[in-house]
Subunit: 351 residues, 2 copies
């Protein structure tokens, strides 16, 4: 993988062909791991961090990565790091630190390993649509391969040891990125978030927090990694999210029955604006895309549009726009370039 | 003329082919006249009103109207009256009164005579675009013909006598309906209104008043009908409005130079929304049409669209919509029908 090949493509896990893709954008599994005998990353000295980095580099090919797949923090510009954050390859916590830190990225970006973020290793995998089992199985495979050469910090009593106790045990965080416009519009989202919390799941706005959630996108994940095995964590996530998906569909249909004109109006105007606007801010764009996605659930809009929506969700983010179009950092310039790019990609979208 | 032939067509004076049609929608001349020896309409008894009506009916053919061109107030439904108000054929003052009152309408609706409104006769003529001279000459022609058989109330000292002193003298009110979005956006409109007042012209919002003006449409007319002859009144209107038209063009160009993306954005989004909306209120529709008209002045949008904009300005008014589509009186229903009609008429408009 080269940076250039990454920035211009859509991650394979956003091709829109997974189960329930109109509602569940993607599924993710992440395992936190640390290497026995080395201090946790926040306490580790330079040499220890280098040691971790070296062990990961040595094990890369065994875990299914090419030697060119490693991107070291210090070798990346601020803009490049921002692009990786927007693609969920690294976190802003990682980008902010110096020293031997970075990420291994497999082709298609469905598998990656963060090195020396909060933990020595964060193995992560992504799947299209609603497929947490697939994501778990993929990340487990990396884990198994790595464990042949890397000795993990593990306690018989606590399981895998991690820098933060909430990750201790399995080290697993399984999550889905889910689009819930109808539950937001009907106001049922708050009750849903409380119920999910009682069932051990955290629901967070993907863009913004609380009442400021933009684009109706939420991330739902397990709150604790301990006390259950990996499969049980994933199955419980699947059970709850399946019900939420049904609630969302039901709420969407109710909305359609009770306010059909208003709902269709919102959907079609959004397409009209995406086809014509000369200026589009990130926030407005995300809201418009959300309305079109609702249109797919309601079968007003062809589901063949999901890949385009996912593509734009990735490429129209600020750092991506700068890299793709050479636009400057100023929002007015980016907003104009964003509108132009989207207009071109929407030329063939029929009204 | 039949009611049915009127309600489904566009008045000939809105075909959009007159001078400066992108900015000046239409020009109007109106002469107030009363019949000698009969009390003014607000003091006249039933018999006097009948007498006026009879005299107008007798003179109709001489003035260039067919005998079938008379629409009597009492013979019209509330909805039909509303349609006539929306077409500027009658006033709400006329529609509200009973007794022998009504309007003579010539084919194309560019000439009409209100009977027993504030004055016994109100002769009016409309022209496309910026053509007050043409309007005056047309209304003068009706006046001359009528005066052969109808004896007007006239004083050598005051000129034509009218129910309200502001109309006394020539009885002439000459006006233009003018679209001034750039002067509104730049805030110069207030200064322009004050200057026009000092020059004896009244500027009023066409939809709404003051800061509530919707759609940036204004009516500019002479304030007094006395002390000058008809030609002088019209020439002075032309002189001032010509300058306002130039100011508007200049303001539009400045807007385009200083905020090109935002201006194009507003214009093209408006077209996008007109092509896609499923619900459109009167107020929103008028604002959208205003933005498209600005696009014509700025040559972003083809001037061939003016007739369509004028057509919609007439036919999308509430009473017209009810008559054309059978929509009920409720706004949600009308707003949905309006959006559907406009979408169909915008199908061939290219983005």
């Amino acid at each position: 993988m080269t940076y250039e090949s990454i920035v211009r493509t859509i991650p394979s896990w956003l091709n829109g062909r997974g189960p329930e893709s109109a509602i569940v954008v993607s599924s993710r599994a992440r395992l936190a791991r640390n290497i026995r005998g080395i201090s946790f990353a926040h306490r580790a000295g330079r040499e220890s961090l280098d040691d971790v980095m070296q062990q990961v580099a040595d094990a890369a090919s065994l875990a299914g990565f090419d030697c060119g797949d490693m991107f070291v923090n210090s070798g990346m510009s601020k803009l490049q790091k921002q692009v990786f954050i927007e693609r969920r390859l690294i976190t802003s916590a990682l980008a902010a630190k110096d020293g031997s830190r970075g990420v291994l990225v497999a082709g298609g970006e469905d598998r990656s390993i963060l090195v020396n973020e909060e933990d020595h290793l964060r193995l992560q995998s992504f799947k299209n649509g609603f497929d947490p089992r697939g994501a778990l199985s993929m990340v487990d495979d990396i884990d198994t391969r790595l464990s042949q050469v890397v000795e993990y910090a593990f306690s018989d009593r606590y399981g895998y040891l991690t820098a933060c106790p909430t990750n201790m045990g399995t080290g697993l965080r399984a999550s889905v990125l889910i689009h819930l416009p109808a539950l937001v519009m009907t106001g049922e989202i708050q009750r849903m978030i409380r119920s999910a919390a009682q069932l051990g799941l955290a629901v967070r706005g993907y863009y913004g927090e609380g009442s400021e959630v933009v684009g109706n996108l939420f991330q739902i994940s397990n709150q604790r990694a301990m006390g259950r095995n990996e499969n049980s964590i994933v199955e419980s996530l699947i059970a709850v999210v399946s019900r939420i998906v049904e609630y969302e569909k039901q709420a969407a249909l109710t909305l359609f029955q009770e306010a059909r004109s208003q709902t269709e109006d919102k959907i079609w105007r959004s397409i009209g604006i995406l086809k014509t606007a000369r200026v589009l801010s990130t926030i407005e764009f995300i809201s418009l895309i959300s309305a079109v996605r609702l249109g797919i659930v309601l079968e007003c809009v062809d589901s063949g549009m999901i890949p385009l929506l996912n593509e734009l969700m990735v490429l129209m983010q600020p750092a991506h726009l700068q890299e793709l179009t050479g636009a400057g950092e100023s929002s007015p310039e980016r907003d104009a370039v964003r509108a132009g790019y989207i207009r071109e990609r929407f030329v063939d979208v029929r009204l």
